[in-house]
Amino acid sequence: MFDGFKFRSVSSPVHTMDPRAKFIYVCALFSVAVMFNQLIPLLILFVIQIPFVVLAGVQKEWLRSMKGSAMFAVIIFTMNLLSLYFYGSYGSLPAIIERSLAMTVRFLVLIESFSVFFLTTSPDLLGLALEQSHVPYELCFAFTTAVRFVPVLAEEAQTIMDAQKARGLELEGGNFIKKIRNYIPILIPLIVNAIRRSLELAETMESRAWGATKNRTNLYVLKIGGKDIYLILVSAVIFVVSVYVSIYIQFPALTQLLVG
């Protein structure tokens, strides 16, 4: 699932867009997804993002993030189904199923938009965007460093797993509690090393005069260009239309349409 969020440096029209424009797009989709709870509009939201994914050329990674979230989707569907069936006031079973499906699709829409955002935005540009949006530099730095260290931690986790396996630790098998207990010998060294590394990083940064000048300037400056404005406009239109639709138009349920 991680791979579905990890930035890969590819050149595409979406990769070169301003992160701020993409963020506005993600926020618009996020709020629209939360606005609706019927299946049809949520399905539409899911489908209209696909051209964007194809344009960015990240279909493979996107599919991986979708596959990774499949298990969560199943859990969300089942929980909704059970709670609506036993405690909800929905009458028929098809209506309950449709509602549960809608909640699952909503989750997928959120994952889809965030996945595209992180897949196409490099941590550096993201930090720059935050900085130019007047977020304090310390916070921007902490954020980009955190993102950048994810692959390092993943690699370290693998080494630790190897080291513990070499001491006879069996990671597979056993019941749920045993499985969780099995991960303690991996999590403790991982966390201790991460803390050690962060202290070391802080020291090396300070010895290289981090924070010496108050007014930092950047080599690259982000500029909102033509296609960014276009994306912001599209996001705005989606948002406004959705607000209008959610207030004035009642979407029919799929089950109603099918039954007639």
Partner: protein, 273 residues
């Protein structure tokens, strides 16, 4: 007996780390695997306890193919001490750290206590029994990691870069310790860059470069061959460099050991050694 035949390994990211390695290590042998960074040394030894599986080729440990058994099963025979002790220490006390593997292997309480006592004593750690491993110095942590592997008395011991971060005294103790293990009949395999350490132990050398074995043989033979060691980005031991320069004067070339060197020099000077 370890028998590796035409071993190839390609990592999931496409890096071809081993390209046809064949190697036999007999029981009770002492072998040092050397070579430049990225030569495939660690990848090679990780195949011996099954942490990595061959992309092509076979690895047999005592006649059992490593793909057929789990790492935990192989680990009883093959103890692997990782380069960085911080990749494995997690327990509250040194004692618990050492008993971790013993519990995994299902030893009973009495046996665990005996073996922990034995390992603590072996590595001079008895006074730290109840101390948190995180409070110890780098060298001590390394010894805890070593004790935690030797505790179950594996037949084959693999040490990845055992001398990194150790001061001279610790290195000397480690050398004596490794030699002692080897004398007890254990197969010892070390992966190292530390040329001076190797000249004092004189194991069989396996020299690697670019995922292949460049040469193997006696330490005196391999480590005095300028052309070979250059190709593996290893430097000649200092003693070997001196004797290389003296070769024209009729001195032997294959000398890497300080005592051997002094003996030869004293002989030349006409003094009794």
């Amino acid at each position: 007996m370890i028998k590796i035949q035409d071993l190839h390994h390609t990592y999931p990211n496409g890096v071809e780390a081993l390209r046809g390695v064949s190697l036999e290590i007999a029981d009770g042998e002492f072998v040092a695997i050397m070579g430049q960074n990225g030569a495939g040394k660690t990848t090679l030894v990780k195949h011996i306890n099954g942490l990595l599986k061959p992309t092509k080729g076979t690895v047999l440990v005592d006649g059992v193919e490593t793909t057929k058994v789990s790492v935990a099963t192989l680990a009883r025979k093959v103890g692997f001490v990782f380069q960085n002790p911080d990749h494995q220490l997690f327990s509250e006390t040194v004692e618990e750290e050492i008993s971790f593997a013993l519990k995994n292997f299902g030893y009973d309480k009495k046996a665990i206590k005996e073996r922990v006592d034995w390992a603590l004593n072996l590595l001079d750690l008895t006074e730290y029994r109840k101390v948190s491993p995180f409070m110890l110095s780098g060298g001590e942590r390394k010894r805890v990691a070593l004790a935690s592997v030797l505790a179950w008395d594996p037949k084959i011991v693999i040490l990845d870069e055992p001398t990194i971060g150790q001061d001279n005294r610790q290195k000397e103790r480690l050398r004596q310790f490794i030699m002692q293990l080897n004398k007890q009949g254990k197969t010892v395999i070390i992966v190292t860059h530390d040329i001076e350490f190797v000249t004092e132990c004189k194991p069989r050398i396996v020299l690697m470069a670019n995922g292949k074995i460049l040469a193997q043989g006696r330490a005196e033979e391999i480590l005095t061959n300028q052309e070979l060691v250059n190709r593996a980005s290893v430097v000649l031991p200092e003693i070997a460099r001196i004797f290389h320069n003296l070769a024209e004067k009729g001195f032997p070339r294959q000398v890497i050991d300080v005592y051997e060197a002094s003996r030869i020099l004293l002989q030349k000077l006409g003094e009794p050694s």
